[in-house]
């Protein structure tokens, strides 16, 4: 029996986060009322012309630098021609034979043997990355379709991998890594629900050892990261089943239905494509010099996996903590800032407080990290108080909750709520309690006669003697014990 392996290549479209569109200056965005983000250029009105958006070029070059691509010294614009209602000009401005980024690779991490163990890393080679314009959106109804051109002209990067992945898990890891990298670079928010990250997969199978690629099936509409994994796994299984049943695979495009977990061939009557690419005479080429690249290289952040390795090495924190911190650049930066302020030996505590308590509070309040009132300095101070034994764990949780609500420094909260731990010398506390009871016969009488609140009268002098640092709970307990004896 022949053993088969799958070969997967991904075409990933990433919308670039810019204020205006890629070839005109009307605003770009998601969630606006239909056809409110158009101008004469977007609608391809007669006589309109495109003008490049510098920020979109910066973004794709930055993406290329982050992924180790060669940045072409010269690239140009081509028209990809096909008729479709979401494409206002009936051609898409794209890059055909001179894309801006060539080669490069995406580092991926495969699932580890256990949740707390780092998985195997490998590099998936890229073919190219080019810049193009997004198309509008079709809304399908019972008898017709409605077209909204808000999305048309949004800058869109197409990241094309080599056919170098074998499993759905690898594809999933690849997409996750691209998403993390793009978010790190500030290039895109990569929200798949908003269509900011989209993925098509080319999948084929071949006997193990065979060099030639098998019949390729293009799988479309992998609209969420989990659909990418499920859809590809499903397609590989389908192809294996066809071959096992003695059938022959046909080159086709299939649409994956993530809800049903099924796919079907797109058998539209569409004519065979001939895109008739040619250089767009309305646009001039882009020349990228070393100075421009250097400027963008300076703006490049550390890559997520590099940062993860560094956090593990420099802060001695466990993999599980880094795997929560790393996908969120701001969160991992917050960790580093806090850990540096908290000092040696406290990094794991910092990691725990952030990944457990802070994320829980943010989740409950449905707030992003940017809305958190807890500064790195205050969180570091809290951890130092715990470490010094000044705050007991239960009290620390209370202080943290207040910090989250008010943004105050922990010392302020501790003082106000009197949450500081008692002086270590309980003998001293007991002595102060005895003195206070002895000095207030009236309150003693009242307490003995059943007026419980009279106990408060003893507390003032004790706190005064303790300079406010007595643990109120402990004071209360000690007083009650001594009063019972009195």
């Amino acid at each position: 029996m022949i053993n088969y392996e799958a070969v997967i290549g991904l075409e990933v479209h990433v919308q670039i986060k810019t204020h205006s569109k890629v070839f005109t200056r009307v605003g770009a965005g998601f969630g606006h009322e239909p056809n409110t983000l158009t101008d004469p250029v977007v609608l391809a009105l007669p006589g309109t012309l495109p003008v490049m958006n510098k920020a979109a070029l910066d973004a794709i070059i930055k993406a290329g630098l982050l992924l180790g691509c060669d940045i072409a010294p010269v690239c140009k614009w081509d028209r990809k021609q096909y008729f479709y209602p979401d494409s206002p000009k009936n051609y898409q401005i794209s890059q055909y034979d001179q894309p801006i980024c060539l080669g490069g690779s995406v580092e991926i991490e495969l699932p580890g043997a256990a949740r707390n163990l780092m998985g195997e890393h490998k590099k998936i080679p890229l073919t190219r990355i080019h810049l193009e314009e997004d198309v509008g959106k079709l809304n399908h109804h019972a008898t017709d379709s409605l077209v909204d051109y808000n999305r048309a002209g949004t800058p869109l990067m197409e990241i094309v991998s080599e056919p170098a992945m074998q499993t759905a898990e690898e594809a999933f890891a690849y997409l996750t890594s691209i998403r993390n990298t793009m978010i790190y670079g500030g290039i895109s928010d990569c929200d798949m629900e908003k269509g900011q990250l989209r993925c098509d997969a080319n999948i084929s199978i071949r006997p193990v050892g065979e060099k030639k690629l098998g019949t390729k099936v293009e799988l479309k509409n992998l609209n969420s990261i989990s659909y990418v994994r499920d859809g590809i796994a499903h397609e590989i299984k389908r192809q294996l089943a066809v071959v096992a049943a003695g059938g022959k695979l046909v080159q086709e495009t299939r649409d994956y239905d993530g809800v049903a977990g099924t796919s079907q061939s797109l058998r539209s009557k569409e004519m065979a494509h001939d895109y008739r690419y040619f250089p767009d005479p309305d646009l001039m080429p882009v020349h990228v010099d070393e100075g421009w690249k250097a400027e963008l290289r300076r703006a490049c952040p550390e890559l997520p996996f590099d940062k993860q390795r560094r956090l593990i090495a420099d802060y001695q924190i466990p993999y599980t903590i880094t795997s929560v911190l790393i996908p969120d650049r701001a969160l991992s930066n917050f960790f580093e800032a806090t850990a540096q302020l908290a000092g040696m030996g406290r990094s794991q505590a910092v990691g725990n407080w952030i990944t457990n308590d802070l994320l829980r509070e943010l989740g409950a309040a449905k707030l992003p990290l940017s809305a958190s009132k807890i500064s790195a300095a205050n969180l570091a101070a809290l951890i130092q108080l715990i470490d010094a034994g000044t705050l007991l764990n239960a009290a620390a949780k209370e202080v943290f909750a207040t910090m989250f609500a008010t943004g105050e420094a922990p010392v302020v909260i501790v003082a106000r709520l009197g949450l500081a731990a008692a002086p270590t010398d309980t003998g001293e506390l007991e002595a102060w309690c005895r003195e206070s009871i002895a000095a207030n016969a009236k309150a003693l009488a009242e307490f003995k006669s059943g007026k419980d609140s009279a106990i408060n009268a003893f507390k003032g002098p004790i706190m005064k003697a303790a300079k406010g640092k007595a643990n109120p709970k402990l004071v209360d307990e000690t007083l009650r014990r001594l009063l019972a004896e009195a």
């Binding site: 056809n35 101008d39 051109y149 005479p281 001039m284």
Partner: protein, 96 residues
């Protein structure tokens, strides 16, 4: 250089999205045939080592800063729309 084949009028009309009558196809094919016949002489020009001209006066890095500007009001955007509903363009149902 490969010798260009006959113009396949059906295929080209299809790519151009032009519904041509049989009479138009015959007429255009004949007219374009004589023009293509004239154009054949370009094959004689020695263009080895010659760079193509895409622009008479090439410039590079012509761009604008990423500053969003107001666009068209929906009413202006749909001013000339042959069919519209709910502020969108209506087209026959697209099967994709």
């Amino acid at each position: 250089m490969s010798q260009p084949a006959e113009l396949n009028i059906d295929r080209v009309a299809e790519l151009s999205r032009l519904a041509l009558t049989p009479e138009e196809k015959t007429r255009f094919a004949a007219q374009l045939g004589s023009i293509l016949g004239h154009i054949e002489q370009l094959a004689k020009v020695d263009v080895s080592g010659i760079e193509p001209t895409a622009h008479a006066f090439p410039l590079n890095n012509v761009w604008a800063a990423d500053v969003a500007q107001p666009g068209l009001a929906v009413s202006a955007a749909l001013l000339n729309a042959p069919a519209q509903r709910d502020h969108m363009i209506v087209v026959p149902k697209v099967v994709d």
